[in-house]
């Protein structure tokens, strides 16, 4: 390979391998390690103590608020991934049936919103959902309701809806890829043997696309649970999520070690979710 056979390039080769091993170490491993180490420090009265203890972790399990908020957040993100998959599957299926040219056009249209300003999207969704927003005004105008709805204003429902709207493209892509990988011959065989389209879908296509569905769901879950800006913006005081608690430890509460410990716990939850997804994928 490149630089290998060349005697003059020995120095360059050495420099290259130093760089390739050193830079990831300094800018990725070292920050993550210092992060984990920080989670064992502790803070008292605004003063940071640099001796290693487990008190951040015991606080997490003994204090009555943190475990319920984590469970609630997991449930919320689970619902986000279920909704995103349910909405994304038909789109992915339609994409898979289209001809190559139209397929990539539509796929691009699915992906463009991902590159658009995330903050402005949250803001726009918030102003549409708000008490005096577009949705309520439309429903009032259509005389479907006579009082503005408040179920989507500054609470967990609003977080659920906003995260789903933001993350649908992440659900569509893996499902689409798994549908594309299904060999055409299997579908043709099913039809030749007299199965209807619906039977072919239920017995052949759906089971074969399940790994993609699981990937999509775990993808969306991980992205949703790591998001702290959306709940901050649309959640109001009642829409408290785990991500917000972590963020507040680095802002107003100013307890970095505790925030780091909470993030380590969040990471463990995510590793479990990804591992479960992988296991399921391998089994099917």
């Amino acid at each position: 390979m490149l630089l290998v056979g060349d005697q003059h390039a020995r120095g360059w080769r050495f420099a290259l391998s130093t760089l390739a091993n050193g830079l990831p170490f300094v800018f990725i491993i070292a920050p993550l390690l210092s992060f984990v180490v920080y989670s064992f420090f502790w803070v008292e009265g605004g003063q940071m103590h640099f001796d290693l203890t487990l008190r951040n972790y015991t606080r997490f399990f003994t204090d009555a608020i943190f475990v319920p908020v984590l469970c609630q957040t997991c449930l919320l993100c689970l619902m986000v991934s279920v909704f995103a998959v349910l909405l994304g599957y038909p789109v992915a299926f339609l994409l898979a049936t289209l001809s190559a040219r139209r397929k990539y056009m539509l796929l691009m249209l699915v992906l463009v919103p991902l590159l658009m300003s995330y903050i402005i999207k949250i803001y726009a969704i918030r102003s549409i959902l708000g008490g005096n927003g577009f949705l309520n005004r439309f429903l009032l105008w259509a005389q479907l309701i006579d009082q503005p709805l408040t179920i989507f204003v500054f609470n967990l429902n609003a977080v659920l809806l906003t995260l789903t709207m933001l993350l649908i493209p992440f659900a569509i892509l893996p499902i689409f890829l798994s549908l594309e990988r299904i060999p055409k011959s299997l579908i043709e065989a099913s039809i030749d043997l007299g199965a209807s389209n619906w039977q072919t879908f239920c017995r052949v296509i759906l089971p074969l696309s399940l790994p993609g569905v699981v990937t999509a769901a775990s993808f969306v879950f991980v992205l949703a649970i790591g998001d702290f800006l959306t709940p901050q913006m649309v959640g109001g005081p009642s829409g408290f999520t785990f991500g917000r608690i972590i963020y507040s430890q680095f802002g107003s509460a100013f307890n970095w070690p505790f925030g780091a410990a909470l993030s380590v716990i969040l990471a463990l939850v995510m590793i479990v979710v990804i591992a479960l997804g992988n296991r399921f994928e391998r089994r099917t």
């Binding site: 990831p24 210092s34 691009m108 590159l115």
Partner: protein, 267 residues
């Protein structure tokens, strides 16, 4: 895929339409209102005007933030391209287990939630006494987008047959000549495509940036700060411009990254 019945096709199209309303609906209202006059906080739908765009030119906070975003985007993209090529060549140069580990470490920031990468870098910068500035933002973005650049480049480099490189050496080219005349040209489309994607990701990166930035704001951070007070009409104009820009970048990325029509038919 199978041939759909008319009913199934219509049903799927209807569901897809709903998803597209969810995806694009939130953006249409502000974009549409950017072309109209706003008075007393209400959009005057009967008064088309471009005053929002004119006001945008005079909004210095936004323009500075936009320039900062461009600087960060270009630097992070450039760095991740250069490092991506170097790391990919290093990865292909041998098969030691250390390389697999290095590859995993490079992917980590993309697999982990941004809040953790952001916090880890924040703690790291504090411990190493690097004060937060645009430089720390550039480092944060590079760490994040490098995974994507590296992945695209290494995949393309794997598909480059070793015999091309051997042929180049046999014909008397040095390592540098081989790199510039054989390897780099074959990476061209992967580089352009991933550069566009990296830039687009960096352009909208919010969660890492908000943690590692100092007093210099990038556009998303500026918008985040403004959001508490509510947006002025010129933000709608900005949104329309960003939409146009990102769509153009996305079309470019799709052109260079996705298989072309002929390759698709052949497969």
């Amino acid at each position: 895929m199978m041939k759909l019945s008319r009913f199934a096709y219509l049903a799927l199209s209807a569901l897809t339409a709903i998803v597209f309303i969810l995806l694009y609906g939130p953006l249409l209202v502000p974009i549409a209102s950017s072309f109209f006059e706003v008075a007393h906080g209400n959009v005057q739908w009967d008064m088309p005007s471009l005053s929002a765009y004119a006001a945008l030119v005079h909004n210095e906070g936004i323009i500075t933030a936009f320039l900062n975003t461009l600087i960060v985007g270009f630097c992070a993209t450039f760095l991740s391209m250069v490092l991506g090529i170097l790391f990919a060549i290093h990865y292909r140069n041998g098969t030691s287990p250390g390389r697999e580990l290095m590859q995993f470490v490079i992917f980590l920031p993309f697999l982990m939630p941004p809040i953790m990468i952001g916090l880890a870098l924040l703690i790291f910068f504090r411990e190493t006494d690097i004060s937060r500035s645009l430089l720390t933002v550039i480092i944060g973005h590079t760490v994040f987008v490098l995974a994507l650049a590296y992945r695209t480049i290494v995949v393309r480099l794997k598909s480059l047959s070793a015999s091309f490189i051997e042929a180049s050496y046999d014909l008397g080219a040095s390592s540098w000549q081989t790199f510039f005349y054989v390897v780099l040209p074959s990476l061209k489309s992967a580089l352009i495509g991933s550069a566009v994607l990296c830039f687009a990701l960096s352009f909208d990166e919010t969660m890492i940036t908000i943690l590692v930035t100092g007093t210099d704001n990038t556009l998303p951070i500026r918008l985040w700060a403004m959001m508490r007070l509510g947006f002025t009409p010129d933000i709608n104009a900005l949104l329309a411009l960003i939409l146009a820009l990102t769509t153009a970048m996305c079309i470019l990325a799709v052109r260079y990254l996705l298989p072309t029509e002929s390759a698709d038919n052949a497969a």
